[in-house]
């Protein structure tokens, strides 16, 4: 069942008197429970698209429907935002309170959730992101990955059906990135929450069910990671990377070796190469 539906979506803004088109007639359909990565170089429109999903921006023309709610319908704004959580790049600029658990409660306080219910949901959300032991900490004492998980818990407590993450790991170190990605994947697998992940880290996109590649406001690819990344030349032309595993088998094939391409991870590449050497002996 479709949870996010963008129909003929267009958006532009004015800069120095001229109209700059971000995208035009964009059509995207995302099913409930999907884990979708949106790729594209800076300025491809992917972040602007994400901002349309919970009405930070509303369409100039066309329509965006999320969880059955038209994002342009102002009377249902809170219902929409309760269902579609948003995680941003800078963890510091989205944590409001001076204590972790108070921050996780922020959204629930805004919705007027009764205290006992709030306590239960805050504790539950903190346990899910594995930050329960830090519930009384001040946010500035946490690492970037921990802060980002607190931000996710704050969204999670509102029990959304969909979480949109706009480059959530861009400011984190590798350990923090792994923590956040592991959390996001678990939310998708265990809780069935629909994930839209905006990223330019290919190793993160590889973990998604589906990758949407945007370029200059258009969708240029929309498929499973295993079908997208082996198109090494096309990806490069779009200013994007492919995992080194994919690149290696592709390069070997290009040099005329008889190897199966399509590996996305180290294990896959090792397997293909071993298979090739065995076959040729």
């Amino acid at each position: 069942m479709s949870i996010i539906k963008a129909e003929n979506l267009s958006f532009s803004y004015e800069s120095e008197g001229a109209e700059v088109k971000v995208f035009e007639n964009l059509n995207i359909d995302i099913d409930e429970g999907e884990f979708v990565a949106v790729l594209g170089h800076n300025g491809s429109g992917k972040s602007t698209f994400a901002k349309h999903l919970n009405a930070i921006l509303t369409p100039k023309s066309g329509r965006v429907t999320v969880c059955g709610i038209d994002t342009a319908d102002e009377s249902r704004l809170f219902e929409l935002r309760k269902n579609v959580g948003m995680v941003f790049q800078n963890p510091d600029n989205q944590i409001v309170a001076t204590v972790v658990e108070e921050d996780v409660a922020f959204g629930l306080e805004n919705l007027g959730v009764p205290r006992e219910e709030m306590r239960r949901r805050v504790d539950e959300a903190l346990k899910v992101v594995r930050m329960y032991d830090y519930r009384t900490y001040a946010p500035h004492l946490l690492s970037g990955g921990q802060k980002q998980r607190v931000a996710i818990a704050g969204i999670l407590a509102m029990e959304p059906r969909c979480i949109v993450l706009d480059e959530p790991t861009a400011m984190l170190d590798p350990i923090g990135r792994d923590e956040v990605m592991e959390t996001v994947r678990r939310l998708n697998r265990e809780k069935g929450i629909t994930i839209v992940l905006i990223t330019h880290y290919m190793d993160e996109a590889v973990k998604a069910d589906r990758c949407i590649v945007m370029d200059r406001g258009k969708i240029v690819m929309d498929d499973r990671p295993a079908s997208i990344f082996p198109k090494v030349e096309e990806m490069r032309a779009l200013g994007l990377d492919v995992p080194q595993a994919t690149e290696l088998v592709w390069e070997l094939k290009r040099r005329g070796l008889n190897i199966e391409t399509g590996a996305l991870r180290s294990a896959g590449a090792i397997e293909s190469i071993l298979k090739m050497t065995r076959d040729q002996l």
């Binding site: 919970n54 930070i56 809170f78 935002r81 309760k82 959580g85 948003m86 941003f88 800078n90 510091d92 600029n93 989205q94 944590i95 409001v96 309170a97 001076t98 204590v99 658990e101 108070e102 409660a105 922020f106 959204g107 629930l108 306080e109 805004n110 919705l111 007027g112 959730v113 009764p114 205290r115 709030m118 306590r119 805050v122 001040a138 946010p139 500035h140 704050g154 969204i155 509102m158």
Partner: protein
């Protein structure tokens, strides 16, 4: 240098004072201020001092944390001390040098002023040392809420304070980074006359302000995304509980203040 300001720094420990309702502590501090500013005789000062020492003991906050708050105001203290010492007219002259005249009354006023200031800082520091910022803002919000009807934005004030407290450590770290980044580009903040030094601050202040505005912008969007819509219909995770100990403490403050007032009245009518 910024680290020395104890105001706004919470010392996390378990004590009866920590467990009290923030509203009690805020009201207590107000009573305490009244006491300090009405105190005039040595006995009244002694009473206030005993009260101060008692509360510090109860708080279980190490004394050096409390006295640390005094460091930034040493200069102000010395200034008032000197001013009172030399500017008080009247009283018996103790010594005289050039245009300076020191009288016993001057010494008394100066000492009292200094003691009053020290106790004031220590007492108010104690409020922030024993009350987490979030509890403090919650307390202020509740205390101000009756005034909402006459247009006091109690929720907004509390939210602003809370956000300010949240961003103080972030902005301090950012300032440090900016200073270092500009130093690495050869900026010199230490030499030159006053005007040159003020000018040298521009490369620090511009990035700091631009950064703060950007943060504010992003935070506002993030808050809206989490359904923030002002104070209407909001609930709160933290419960403020006014318990028996709060009642007792508040009674004690009232009695103490009343006693001071009684002393003053008695003195005025001439009984003492």
């Amino acid at each position: 240098m910024l680290r020395d300001i104890t105001l706004g720094q919470y010392y996390n420990t378990a004590s009866p004072l920590h467990a009290m309702d923030p509203r009690t502590k805020i009201l207590g501090v107000i009573f305490y201020m009244v006491i300090l500013f009405t105190a005039s005789t040595v006995w009244e000062y002694a009473l206030a001092a005993i009260f101060t020492v008692f509360v510090i003991k109860v708080s279980r906050v190490p004394v050096r944390f409390i006295t640390r708050g005094l460091k930034p105001i040493v200069i102000i203290m010395l200034f008032t001390l000197v001013l009172n010492l030399f500017m008080t007219s009247g009283g018996k002259e103790l010594f005289h040098w050039w245009i300076f005249r020191v009288t016993d009354l001057g010494v008394e006023t100066a000492v009292k002023m200094a003691v009053r200031l020290v106790m004031l800082i220590m007492g108010t520091s104690l409020l922030t040392l024993t009350t987490s910022p979030i509890a403090l803002t919650g307390g202020i919000e509740r205390l101000l809420s009756p005034f909402r009807k006459i247009g006091v934005p109690s929720h907004e004030i509390a939210m602003m304070m809370s956000i300010a407290l949240r961003f103080i450590p972030i902005l301090m770290e950012e300032t440090d980074k900016i200073i270092k980044a500009q130093t690495s580009r050869g900026a010199d903040f230490e030499s030159g006359n006053l005007i040159q030094r003020v000018k040298a601050m521009v490369p620090i202040l511009v990035p700091l302000f631009v950064g703060a505005f950007r943060r504010a912008d992003e935070l506002a969007v993030a808050m809206e995304c989490r359904c923030y819509n002002g104070g209407e219909g909001r609930t709160s995770l933290r419960e403020l509980r006014f318990r028996r100990v709060d009642g007792g403490a508040l009674c004690a403050c009232v009695i103490l203040t009343a006693a001071m007032a009684a002393l003053k009245i008695l003195r005025m009518v001439g009984v003492l």
